[in-house]
């Protein structure tokens, strides 16, 4: 990549959300902001190679985007009063002192992740407006037709305008629930990258995991005192650290206990551990993401799978069940119990979840592994068959098929 191309990529990462947010504030319209930002970056791509990279790329891009927006408004012959009428609600009160930085990007994020929008719409809108991904990129990432994804984003912008979804940081009272909504969107993006679905899809979509981490880092800069933001970032880093060790050269999923731990990304592990330590030191009761991060910290602290502190893992799952009593948490707890108390105890716990998890591939995959360890090959085979039928990830299917075919 040439220096100019690199400067453009860097400016895109660093400035896109800032430009969209500043223009949304000024023009009160997400659509104008998005289009003008895209045009400004296209202008940079056309001009910077010849003119050179401006000394302050962010200011150059904002100014250029402002001009583009004004051009469009003039073209559409919007009179001032009519234009004002269409403006989004903008809260001019300074934010309450919560350690919240009054960054325009926060308003943008909260608007894109508004609970009145469908969750898949929030994901798409966040990736477009905050992440700066193009519509074709988002469509590819979620295996949706480009036109359908374009319509989804267009409809979302129209709803924000028509229903008057405000452009502001929520009040202190609403903030925890709204932050958790934002984190849910980012976690969804990460997970789709980490365990991509679809028969012809790469098992891991690094562009999505990387984007989720980048956006979570941004939220962490904006909300540095929020424990769950730190927890989610740590969880993503500790998961991403194992990415390359998690899929074999032949495209098969490698479970945690069989991974080459030397291939883990030591820098990401160290950063994740540091965040987990910070949260422990904070002495505040942890939420779901912090506990999940702590579980991942225990795993990534063991140089050999045999050194894993399983009693610590089970204790953390017990803590997690208290804040998130879902059957999936109970299933993961059972996997740790198998290491501590043996497969028989674990299988009994897993079988109790059948009502709720019969349609979930990991339920059958877990049963299959436990039945195998108990020497019940026939039952294990049936469970592998069921898991293979339900799994959507190509690497996972390959792994389960091999495990099944190894049964005597």
């Amino acid at each position: 990549m040439s220096d100019v191309e690199e400067a453009i990529t860097q400016a895109h990462h660093a400035e896109w959300a800032r430009v969209v947010a500043a223009l949304t504030r000024r023009f009160g319209d997400l659509d104008i902001a998005e289009e003008a930002a895209a045009e400004a970056f296209a202008t940079a791509v056309a001009r910077w190679p010849a003119d050179g990279v401006p000394p302050n790329p962010g200011a150059w891009l904002t100014t250029t985007a402002n001009h583009k927006a004004i051009d469009r408004i003039r073209r559409e012959n919007k009179r001032d009063d009519k234009h004002k009428e269409a403006q989004m609600v903008y809260d001019d009160d300074p934010p309450e002192p919560l350690g919240v930085i009054d960054d325009e990007r926060l308003r943008l994020i909260f608007t894109c992740c508004h609970p009145a929008l469908a969750i898949e719409t929030r994901v798409a809108l966040t990736l477009r407006m905050v992440g700066g991904l193009t519509v074709p990129e988002i469509a590819r990432a979620f295996l949706v037709q480009e036109t359908a994804m374009g319509q989804r984003i267009t409809r979302a912008k129209a709803k924000i305008k028509a229903a008057r979804i405000p452009y502001r940081v929520p009040s202190a009272e609403d903030l925890p629930a709204r932050v958790s909504g934002v984190l849910a969107v980012l976690f969804l993006v990460f997970n789709e990258g980490y365990l991509a679905t679809g028969p012809d899809t790469d098992p891991v979509r690094h562009e999505l995991t990387a984007e989720a981490i980048r956006l979570t880092r941004l939220i962490r800069v904006l909300l540095p005192d929020d424990g769950e933001v730190a927890g989610l970032l740590a969880l993503m880093l500790l998961t991403e650290a194992r990415r390359t060790a998690r899929v074999s050269a032949s495209g098969e999923l490698v479970p945690l206990d069989q991974q080459d731990r030397g291939a883990w990304d030591a820098a990401l592990v160290a950063e994740g551990h540091q965040l987990v330590r910070e949260r422990l030191a904070a002495g505040v009761a942890p939420g779901r993401y912090q506990i999940l991060a702590a579980i991942n910290a225990v795993h990534t602290s063991a140089r050999d799978v045999r050194d894993t502190d399983w009693s610590q893992v089970v204790a953390l799952y017990d803590q997690l069940i208290r804040v998130d009593p879902s059957p999936i948490v109970a299933l993961n707890r059972a996997i740790a119990v198998a290491e501590l108390d043996g497969p028989e105890v674990a299988l009994a716990a897993v079988d109790r979840l059948e009502d709720k998890l019969a349609a979930y591939h990991a339920f059958h995959a877990t049963r299959a592994e436990l039945l195998r360890r108990l020497g019940r090959s026939q039952d294990a085979r049936t469970a592998y068959d069921k898991a293979i039928e339900l799994a959507g990830n190509t690497a996972e299917t390959a792994h389960l098929t091999r495990r099944r075919d190894q049964l005597g």
Binding site: V89, H114, P115, A116, A163, R164, I165, P170, D174
Partner: protein
Amino acid sequence: MQYLVSVIDDKDNPGSTDRQPAISAFNDRLIAEGYWVFAGGLADTTAATVIDNRGEQAVFSDGPFVESKEYLAGVWVWEVPDLDVALKLATEASKVCDRKIEVRPFQ
């Protein structure tokens, strides 16, 4: 900004019938806080009549324009600054009415 706030009942799983005192108190509060524009409960859908005069002759038909399990039981019109305020009030309204609520902006 005005929103039409619809109270939705369910024929198979109707909300409780003792909500009137709570709804009156909630209305008083909406009025006191300046959000109230209009409120009204509706008679049963069987009392509805649909008129279609798009053709040569007006056609009257008995019953609502769409037969469904869920139906409109009452409406409010609220004047509030933005959707967040409307959603917060609607969240309370759903408890007060013991029914689902739809919030839809006027153009």
